[in-house]
Amino acid sequence: MTYSGSRVGGKPVSFLKALCRKAFPKSLWVYHANSGGCNGCDIEVLNVLTPYYDAERFGIKLVGSPRHADVMLCQGPASRTTGKALRRAYEAMPAPKLVFAVGNCACGGGVWYDTYNVIGSVDKILPVNYYIPGCPPRPEAILYGVAVALGLAGKKVAGELAKQPDLPIVKYHPEDLVRKDGIRVYTKQEQI
């Protein structure tokens, strides 16, 4: 049975799949996995669940088992002892699943990135869908990450490359250097 109303990449998707895709972001059940963090991000995540920030507006609910969860909130770097357990918890989650890396320990290993007992960031172990950097991220930042995942807000950061203005010196492109009769000839001249 195909559902003509929804197409992904030109292919018709079955009705059930389309329904699942639509229903999945309506209520995300969150499993909260700390694999060796300092508890700072845990407190901020708990803040998000309080009535003041109220993540339950978006259908987010904390559950105790990864088997009930749709989303895994990873906090802390993956350490040698907890990395395997984290992987097992990820594999226990049912199939449409998202992984959030909360805090920069989870995003990149934190300040303990080169410690002997730390493997590194969480994405060395799990495929991470959304990164929420910060040490710890504000509750608003976590809510913003959730909003980005749900499509309520757009990304605000992008990679930046800034170059200083070059000196106003006539430059010859080295590819255009042609040697003719013992003299170097510049076929093209570029001014920066």
């Binding site: 009535p51 003041y52 920030y53 109220d54 507006r57 920069n104 320990c105 995003c107 990149g108 290993g109 934190g110 300040v111 990135y113 080169d114 960031s121 994405d123 869908n129 959304y130 990164y131 929420i132 950097p133 910060g134 040490c135 991220p137 504000r138 608003e140 930042a141 976590i142 809510l143 913003y144 990450g145 959730v146 909003a147 980005v148 309520l152 807000a153 990304k155 605000k156 950061v157 992008a158 990679g159 930046e160 490359l161 800034a162 170059k163 200083q164 203005p165 070059d166 000196l167 010196i169 430059k171 010859y172 492109h173 080295p174 590819e175 250097l177």
Partner: protein
Amino acid sequence: MSWISKLKEAVICLKAGRATRPYPLAPDTPPERFRGRPVFDASRCIGCGGCANNCPAREILLHDTSQEIRIVKYIGRRCTYCGRCADVCPEKAITMSRQFETATDAIGDLRQELWIFMGTCQRCGRCFKGAGVLEALMMKGFRADDLEADRWVYASTSFLEKEPLVRDIEIELE
């Protein structure tokens, strides 16, 4: 009687008002002294490398691709926003912004990269002598009108021109 108590409860709740903040739907300003993502100003940076030396997470990397160009890379994935780079910067090229909305689905979005033109003494063609930590970061001299060196600059930076921003990080310090 139970409905009266429920009515009382409703009145109390209405008096208290709404405690929930409308954050993702309405903008939010962090407090005045909040430290967010550092912002690098390429026009002010002199490429001294003080930020790279002071970063506790070793998040700011320096690459000398040639004698002329120094690349300052801020990767940003494990930056704790401690502000030491902004404190140590002599030219105030790094400012700690109040930007906290940095959630992204690609970690390469957090990267900032500066290409710094390193000046050399035009009279002697060498960098002047520094002292202390900066001494280690000094580079050899370079004349801007030296075509042989220019060819070398081109060879060393041409691979950067094709893909100026790499999506993910392949530099692993360990």
